[in-house]
């Protein structure tokens, strides 16, 4: 059985499961479409949240980033998990108690302002579209790298699948497909990690292998990696060249950004009540931690493996499909050399690896910037290669590789679907129902929701096609975090924890965060800014953290200078702080029941 067979098998099986779920979970009401009927079990929601959360960037790029950055990669590990503590303690239970469908719902009602709602919609759409471009690109990369399907067709196939379950089942369909996708991706991620950990350290748990000795040697794996790297002129793995404040700021932007991301927040609207939302955040972090504690182990193992198989290998010229690899390799072995590995030649086709024979000796020298023997680096691997090619680098069986393909696609599709829900509900619920046509009935809104989900899928696909021009997958995603941290987190947080916060303050805070962060990132990514111009030495990835404080400050000062919020709002905030006591409050809930209490649906937030 060859690798392509296994890839097609696993991808085919997982895709049929997604379509099966789509047919089973058709949504019958807006309640089901937006929030899966408020009736998802906390553990199930935790698993769906984990899949929703862990994107193509987490699955494909993160271990590779860590492999390259070493300690510097820690910002992703702490940032993308620590945000769940903020979510569980500061946001999720209160927003669930508030009891509606979307983040702009909360902003618009809490700040009694259509303008605030619209600004929140713009933030949510901006963040989601930035994020989804990376997902679609991930789908294209996985398809083109493994199944030999062109990048564009990969994206189109991915779009068709998501289109199916997102428009039919809405949040309900998305939730249950995400559960399956989580299982696929965690299996696909940990199986190769366990194999590799066992091969290198003899310990089957990658988390423990990470801090174990190299098998058969009396030296710790990380120490060996440090020595190997410094011998080749790289910095030590456990060190970084980033300033401490920059590391601090990036970690902060990722943590607060995680807590402010609309597609993560809305997942907590699908559980029964505030207590379930807290518990669900715990489950989500547990499922996420399974992957996130494995990633640094994969990163370190992959770097070690890459160096030992590629460095000082003799290169074989020509396209792998046209040459007789085994014959050429045998010749090199007879001459006493090590041939370039087969997987290297396989991946070379995708352009994710390149080799330039600078000193003309036909041998591949992999060197860092301070190479002790003075040789120039000749090998340039793309970071995404580390998870994709890892099973082959370690010489694992072909079925494991097939599994990784299915896992990568599951990671990208699950996140894309979660984001599509934010986009479609922002259009159909926040713009159409709550702003333009308040008289719209439930049935019409459901139809509009389906249509906007369909439109969003197409828009996302087009974005993915153009995203190939925008840096590597993880970097595109890092954008969204700064904007979520600086524009959405402050007003949601103040809306819950400070009753005095008013409409004027909220609008000022949101606009401050959005404009400053956007301008800063844009200037340094596209406008020609150089690192010497960084504000306080903070890179664009971390700036959301700095401007978050600016937004908080501007919001608080503006609120204090203008009139306090109406009594209705103060009572609303007091209600959502105490679980199970939420009542409708005049202007805060105009024309809209806070929850399903009044209708014949199951009681939602009031059910203790």
């Amino acid at each position: 059985m060859d690798q392509a067979f296994w890839s097609y098998l696993f991808v085919g099986l997982s895709f049929s499961a997604y379509i099966g779920i789509a047919l089973w979970s058709r949504a019958g009401s807006t309640d089901e479409f937006y929030v899966a009927g408020h009736d998802v079990h906390p553990a199930v929601n935790g698993m769906a949240t984990a899949a929703d959360w862990m994107s193509a960037a987490s699955f494909l790029s993160m271990a590779g980033l860590i492999a390259f950055l070493g300690y510097g990669g820690s910002v992703y590990l702490m940032g993308w998990t620590g945000g769940y503590v903020l979510l569980a303690l500061l946001l999720a239970p209160y927003l669930r108690e508030f009891g509606k469908f979307t983040v702009p719902d909360f902003v618009g009602d809490r700040y009694y302002s259509t303008f605030a709602r619209i600004v929140a919609v713009i933030c949510a759409l901006f963040v989601s579209f930035t994020y989804i471009a990376g997902q679609m690109k991930g789908v294209g990369v996985a398809f083109s790298g493994f199944l030999g399907i062109p990048f564009e067709w990969g994206i189109i196939i991915g779009m068709v699948i998501v289109f199916f379950y997102a428009t039919l089942g809405g949040m309900k369909g998305v939730t249950y497909t995400q559960v399956v996708q989580y299982c696929v991706m965690i299996f696909a991620y940990t199986v190769p990690a366990i194999f590799i950990s066992f091969i290198i350290t003899g310990n089957v748990f990658p988390q423990l292998g990470f801090i174990s000795n190299v098998r058969g040697e009396d030296v710790a794996m990380l120490e060996k990696l440090n020595t190997t790297l410094t011998d080749l002129g790289f910095a030590e793995y456990t060190s970084t060249n980033k300033s401490m404040f920059d590391v601090f700021a990036i970690t902060g932007a990722l943590m607060f950004g995680t807590a402010g991301l609309p597609h993560v927040i809305i997942r907590f609207f699908t559980v029964r009540n505030a207590r379930a939302a807290r518990v669900s955040a715990g489950w989500a972090l547990l499922f996420i931690a399974l992957l996130y504690t494995t990633a640094p182990a994969i990163g370190a193992f992959a770097r070690l493996n890459f160096i030992s198989t590629v460095n000082e290998a003799t290169y074989i010229e020509g396209n792998i499909d046209e040459i007789d690899y085994e014959a050429e390799a045998e010749k090199i072995r007879e001459a006493g050399g090590t041939p370039v590995p087969h997987w290297y030649k396989d991946w070379e086709k995708t352009g994710l690896l390149s080799y330039e024979d600078k000193n003309g000796d036909g041998v591949m020298q992999y060197r860092g910037p301070n190479s002790p023997d003075g040789l120039a680096n000749e090998v340039d691997p793309n970071r995404d290669i580390f998870v994709l090619a890892n099973p082959q680098i370690a010489g694992l069986p072909a079925w494991v590789i097939g599994l990784v393909v299915a896992g990568g696609l599951a990671a990208a599709l699950s996140t894309a679907a979660g984001l599509l829900m934010v986009i479609s509900s922002a259009v159909s619920h926040d713009i159409c129902r709550r702003t333009l046509f308040p008289q719209m009935n439930d049935k019409t809104e459901l139809r509009v929701a389906r249509a906007s989900a369909a439109g969003a899928v197409v828009a996302a696909g087009l974005l993915g096609l153009f995203a190939s021009q925008l840096g590597f997958v993880a970097q595109v995603v890092a954008f969204a975090f700064g904007l979520a941290a600086a524009s959405l987190f402050p007003i949601i947080f103040l809306g819950i924890f400070w009753t005095r916060m008013n409409k004027e303050g909220a609008i000022a805070a949101m606009l401050t965060g959005l404009i400053t962060t956007f301008a800063y990132i844009f200037w340094f990514k596209f406008g020609g800014g150089t690192p010497e111009q960084y504000l306080f030495g903070v890179s664009p990835e971390g700036i959301g953290f700095v401007f978050m404080f600016l937004a908080l400050g501007v919001g608080i000062v503006t609120a204090l200078l203008t009139s306090p919020p109406p009594q209705d709002i103060v009572e609303l905030v007091e209600d959502i702080r105490v679980p199970g006591t939420r009542q409708p409050h005049g202007i805060a809930d105009q024309g809209m029941e806070p929850m399903k209490d009044a209708s014949d649906g199951p009681p939602a937030a009031s059910a203790g």
């Binding site: 860590i66 300690y71 990669g73 820690s74 590990l77 702490m78 998990t81 620590g82 769940y84 503590v85 903020l86 569980a88 303690l89 500061l90 239970p93 988390q207 423990l208 990470f210 801090i211 174990s212 000795n213 030296v219 710790a220 794996m221 990380l222 120490e223 456990t238 401490m244 590391v247 601090f248 970690t251 902060g252 943590m255 207590r275 807290r278 518990v279 955040a281 715990g282 972090l285 547990l286 931690a289 996130y292 504690t293 640094p296 007091e574 702080r577 105490v578 679980p579 199970g580 006591t581 939420r582 009542q583 209490d597 009044a598 009681p603 009031s606 059910a607 203790g608």
Partner: protein, 91 residues
């Protein structure tokens, strides 16, 4: 169902909220200490100690902080349920 909502007096609601805030702040201090503290600010000091070849600060940044985050949320759920019971909230 709307009639069955638990009702707290103003003072009870205030006391409940104060207790919630106290718990939240305590847990956030620990959250800060293990991530930004051990993983970033105090890394150079902690790195002098090593666990299994991993400098301790580095280990906290890549593994330890995540384990502590999990414990924090689990404890928060437990403590909040206890607090709700004390005030007669929830079932």
């Amino acid at each position: 169902m709307a009639g069955n909502k638990p009702q707290l007096t103003k003072d009870q609601a205030k006391a409940y909220w104060r207790a919630t805030i106290r718990l939240t702040i305590t847990l956030l201090v620990i959250w800060f200490a293990v991530s930004y503290g051990a993983g970033v600010l105090l890394r150079d000091i902690l790195d002098k100690v090593s666990i299994g070849g991993a400098p301790l600060g580095f280990w906290f940044a890549q593994q330890g902080a995540i384990y502590v985050f999990l414990i924090l949320i689990a404890y928060y759920c437990f403590a909040m349920t206890r607090l709700e019971k004390r005030f007669g909230l929830g079932e």
